[in-house]
C-alpha cells in the first residue's frame, strides 16, 4: 500500500477544523433562529372576521422576572389584521419585533362571526404551520374573540389560562363541557360526516366584561394587560356547544343538550341532573349511539344511568338523608328528562344539518352502498329512538 501520510494526518486536521467551526457557530449564536428572549410565547389566539379579512389577537405570556412572589401568569394581548391569519401574525411580528411562537398555543378561540363564516378559513394556517400544535383546544365565543381574550378573569391573570381551567378534566367529567382539539375537529369535519363541535364560551355576566373589549385594532395595535381598573373580573361559561356542518357553525346546543351529549359519549361522574323537583347526581353512565340498518336506517340512542339523590326542594325525613336513594318516580322523571334533552339535541342537529353522531361516517366505514344513498340526504329522514335506563343507588 502506498504511503498515505496525508490521509493519516487528515483526522487531526479535521478535528481541529471541526472544533473551530463548532466554536465559531457557538459564539456567533445565530442559525437564523430566535431565542427565548426575543420570542413571544403565544398562549392563545383569538380569531375574528374583519373588514380586511381576519383579525387575530394573540395572548402572549409576559415573564414575571426572577421575583416570583405572586402567582398567576401575566399576559399581554396583541392584535394584528390582514387578509389571512398568517398576515395577522406577520403584522404582530412587524410591529413588535416579537416573533410569535405557537408551540405553547393551547387555545384557538373563534369569534362567532368567524365560526359562522367558516372555521377553516381561520384554522388553515394552524394546520399548515409545522410548529403550531394541532392538539390545542378549539372554542367559539359569543361576540368577539379579541374582546374575550382581553377580559380580566376571576380565575387567572390570563384569560386563556382561565379558559384552560374551565376546559379541565373535572368539568368534562361532570358532563358540563365537551371540548375538542384542532385535530379532532378536522378529522370529523374532513370526514364523511363533515361535522364538528366546539365549546361555546360566553361571559356569564355581561356587565362584568371590560369596557373596551374590541380595542387594539389597526394593523397591529397592542394593548398591554387587562383593563383591571375599569373592569370587574369576569367568569366564563362554556356549557353550551356550537355545532358545525361543513366547517361552518350552524347551531348551538343548550347546556342540557350538551349534558345529554356527554351522557352518550363520555364517562360522566358527579354530573348533576335536575328532575322531578330534585337534583340527582350521575354516579355512572354507559351511553352509546348505534345505527341499525334493518329494515331502514335509524339512529338509536341508549343511555344507562346510576343516580343518587343530591338535593330536593321538598323537606324529607332525616332517615332518608343518609341513604341517598332516589324514589322511583324521580328516577322516571330523570329518564324522561334525559330523553327530552337527547331528543332536543337530535332535533338541533337535524336543524343544523350537523351529523354530530357520525351516522354518515359509520355508513362510510361499514356500508358503502347505503352511504351513497345517505350521503346527501337530510338527517330529518332518519328516525331516532331513545332507550334510557336509570337506577337509583342502592
Amino acid at each position: 500500500m502506498r504511503n498515505n501520510g496525508w490521509l493519516r494526518r487528515m483526522p487531526k486536521r479535521l478535528w481541529a477544523v471541526l472544533a473551530a467551526l463548532l466554536l465559531f457557530t457557538f459564539l456567533s449564536n445565530d442559525f437564523g433562529l430566535v431565542d427565548l428572549q426575543k420570542t413571544a410565547i403565544v398562549l392563545a389566539a383569538g380569531i375574528d372576521r374583519s373588514e380586511e379579512g381576519f383579525s387575530v389577537t394573540a395572548q402572549i405570556a409576559v415573564p414575571k422576572g426572577s421575583d416570583r412572589t405572586t402567582g398567576g401568569t401575566s399576559s399581554v394581548e396583541l392584535t394584528g389584521t390582514g387578509g389571512t391569519v398568517a398576515d395577522c401574525f406577520s403584522a404582530i411580528y412587524a410591529q413588535t419585533g416579537w416573533l410569535p411562537k405557537l408551540v405553547f398555543c393551547d387555545l384557538l378561540l373563534l369569534g362567532e362571526d368567524a365560526a359562522r363564516a367558516g372555521a377553516f378559513g381561520a384554522l388553515d394556517y394552524f394546520l399548515r404551520d409545522e410548529y403550531a400544535p394541532d392538539s390545542c383546544t378549539l372554542a367559539v365565543c359569543e361576540g368577539s374573540a379579541s374582546a374575550l381574550l382581553r377580559t380580566a378573569s376571576a380565575v387567572d391573570d390570563a384569560s386563556s389560562l382561565a379558559l384552560e381551567t374551565l376546559f379541565s378534566d373535572a368539568a368534562k367529567k361532570a358532563g358540563r363541557i365537551r371540548t375538542t382539539t384542532l385535530r379532532e375537529f378536522c378529522i370529523t369535519s374532513y370526514g364523511a360526516s363533515a361535522c364538528g363541535y366546539m365549546p361555546y364560551v360566553r361571559i356569564t355576566d355581561p356587565g362584568r366584561q371590560s369596557a373596551d373589549g374590541a380595542a387594539g385594532g389597526g394593523n397591529a395595535g397592542g394593548k398591554g394587560g387587562k383593563q383591571a381598573d375599569a373592569a370587574k373580573e369576569a367568569v366564563f361559561d362554556a356549557s353550551q356547544t356550537a355545532l358545525f356542518s361543513h366547517g361552518k357553525m350552524t347551531g348551538l346546543a343548550t347546556a342540557q343538550e350538551t349534558f345529554a351529549m356527554s351522557l352518550v359519549y363520555d364517562r360522566v361522574y358527579g354530573g348533576s341532573l335536575a328532575a322531578g323537583g330534585a337534583t340527582l347526581t350521575v354516579l355512572k353512565n354507559d351511553g352509546g349511539v348505534s345505527f341499525p340498518r334493518d329494515p331502514a336506517p335509524a339512529v338509536q340512542f341508549s343511555v344507562k344511568l346510576s343516580l343518587a339523590l343530591a338535593d330536593r326542594s321538598a323537606p324529607a325525613p332525616p332517615t332518608s338523608l343518609a341513604a341517598g336513594t332516589v324514589p322511583p318516580e324521580t328516577v322516571d322523571a330523570a329518564k324522561a328528562e334525559v330523553t327530552a334533552h337527547l331528543a332536543a339535541l337530535w332535533a338541533r342537529c337535524v336543524q343544523a344539518d350537523c351529523d354530530l353522531f357520525l351516522f354518515r361516517r359509520t355508513l362510510f366505514r361499514h356500508d358503502r352502498a347505503l352511504y351513497a344513498q345517505w350521503k346527501d340526504r337530510p338527517l330529518e329522514d332518519l328516525p331516532a329512538y331513545f332507550t334510557i335506563e336509570a337506577e337509583s343507588l342502592r
Binding site: 490521509l7 471541526l18 437564523g32 411562537k101 394541532d134 362510510f364 366505514r365
Partner: protein
C-alpha cells in the same frame, strides 16, 4: 471486524424499520388511503424474501465483488460494484430528504437555516469511512434503543387512535393498492443494503430464515405503527409527514408533564441518524472493497459521496416534493428491479462458481 448473526438480526428487526417512520406513512395514506397497510405488508413480505435470498448467498462467505469476479472477471465485477454503489446512492436520497425535513421540524421551534442540517454530513463522513461490518456493535445498542422508543410512541399514541378508521377494508380498491405499492417502493432497499455485508459475517445454519423472520418482525412493528398512525390522524394522515414525532403528543400525560414523549422520539431519531447514513456507507464500502484498498480509499470516497449528497440536497432544497415524486413515483421501479436484478446476477455467479468447482 466481523459481524455476528445476532447483530445482523438486530439490524433487520430493529434498525431497518427506523427508516420507514417518517414520510412513508403519509405517502401510503395519500396513495392507498385507509388501505395503507396492504401495500406496506406486501412490500415487507417481498423484501423479507429478498433478505432471505441475500442471506442464503452468505453461505459462500465471499464478498459481492469476489462472487461476480469469479464469474465474469475483475473488470466486470468492478463495474457491477460501481453500479450497485450508484443504486445505493440513489436510494440514499429519500432518507436524506427525510432527515433534512425531520430536522427542521423536530429539532427547532422556528424554521432554521437550511444549513442547520449540514452537520449531519460530518457524522456521515466519519461513519462512511468505516466499514459497514464494523457497525455490529452499534446495532447492539441501537436495536434496544429503537424498541424502547417505538414502544413508547405506540403506547402514548394508542389511546388517541381510532382503528375503525381503517375500515372499510378494500375501500381504496385495487387501484389504491397498486398506487400504494408503487409509491412506497423507494423505502424498501434493505436487501440491497445487506449486499456489501456479504463475506463479513460467518453463516450459521438457519441464518437466512432467522434474518427473514427478523425482518418480518420489524416490518410487523411498522405495520402496527402505520395502523395507529392512520387511527390517530385519519383524514389528516396525508398531511402528517413526520408521523412518529407527532403521534404521541395527544397522550394526556403530555399535557401535565410537558413533552416527555420526546425521550422516545429522540431515541427513534437517533437510530434514524445511522440508518440514514447507511446507504452512502454501503456504497462507499462496496466500491472500496472492489478496488481492494478499503483503508486508503474509504475516507476519500466517504468525503466525496457525502459532499455530493449534500450538494444534491441543497440543489433540491426548494423542490422536496418534486424530488420525492421523481424518486418514489416516476422512477419507483428502480428499487424492486435493481434489488431483484442484482440478486439474479449474484445467484448466477454462485451457480457458475459451483459448476466450475464441479468441473475441477
Amino acid at each position: 471486524m466481523k459481524l455476528s448473526a445476532r447483530q445482523l438480526c438486530f439490524f433487520l428487526a430493529a434498525v431497518a424499520p427506523a427508516g420507514k417512520l417518517v414520510l412513508l406513512p403519509s405517502q401510503l395514506a395519500a396513495k392507498a388511503g385507509n388501505d395503507l397497510l396492504f401495500p406496506l405488508a406486501a412490500h415487507i413480505v417481498f423484501e423479507a424474501a429478498l433478505v432471505f435470498l441475500v442471506l442464503l448467498l452468505a453461505r459462500r462467505e465471499r464478498t459481492v465483488y469476489a462472487m461476480i469476479a469469479d464469474m465474469v472477471g475483475g473488470a466486470a465485477a468492478k463495474a457491477a460494484c460501481i453500479l450497485l454503489a450508484a443504486f445505493l446512492l440513489w436510494a440514499s436520497f429519500v432518507p436524506l430528504i427525510e432527515q433534512k425535513l425531520l430536522v427542521q421540524t423536530l429539532f427547532y421551534d422556528t424554521l432554521p437555516s437550511y444549513v442547520a442540517f449540514a452537520p449531519f454530513f460530518l457524522l456521515a463522513g466519519y461513519l462512511c469511512a468505516k466499514p459497514l461490518a464494523s457497525m455490529g456493535r452499534l446495532w447492539d445498542i441501537l436495536a434496544p434503543l429503537f424498541c424502547v422508543g417505538l414502544t413508547g410512541v405506540l403506547l402514548f399514541a394508542c389511546g388517541s387512535a381510532d382503528l375503525g378508521a381503517l375500515a372499510p377494508v378494500g375501500g381504496s380498491g385495487a387501484a389504491g393498492f397498486w398506487r400504494g405499492l408503487f409509491g412506497a417502493s423507494s423505502w424498501f432497499f434493505d436487501a440491497a443494503l445487506l449486499l456489501p455485508l456479504l463475506g463479513h459475517f460467518p453463516y450459521q445454519k438457519g441464518l437466512a430464515l432467522r434474518g427473514a423472520l427478523c425482518y418480518l418482525a420489524g416490518g410487523g412493528a411498522v405495520v402496527l405503527f402505520c395502523a395507529l398512525y392512520f387511527g390517530v390522524f385519519q383524514e389528516l394522515a396525508v398531511s402528517q409527514p413526520f408521523a412518529f414525532s407527532q403521534m404521541s403528543k395527544y397522550f394526556s400525560g403530555v399535557a401535565a408533564m410537558g413533552r416527555v414523549d420526546y425521550i422516545f422520539i429522540f431515541s427513534i431519531a437517533f437510530v434514524m441518524l445511522f440508518y440514514t447514513a447507511m446507504p452512502v456507507q454501503a456504497a462507499v464500502d462496496v466500491v472500496a472493497e472492489a478496488f481492494a484498498r478499503p483503508r486508503a480509499l474509504a475516507p476519500a470516497l466517504s468525503a466525496a459521496c457525502n459532499a455530493a449528497a449534500f450538494a444534491a440536497l441543497l440543489a433540491f432544497n426548494f423542490v422536496p416534493s418534486e424530488t420525492i415524486a421523481l424518486i418514489s413515483v416516476r422512477l419507483f421501479w428502480i428499487f424492486p428491479a435493481f434489488s431483484a436484478g442484482m440478486l439474479l446476477v449474484l445467484y448466477a455467479a454462485w451457480a457458475a462458481g459451483r459448476r466450475r468447482r464441479h468441473a475441477q
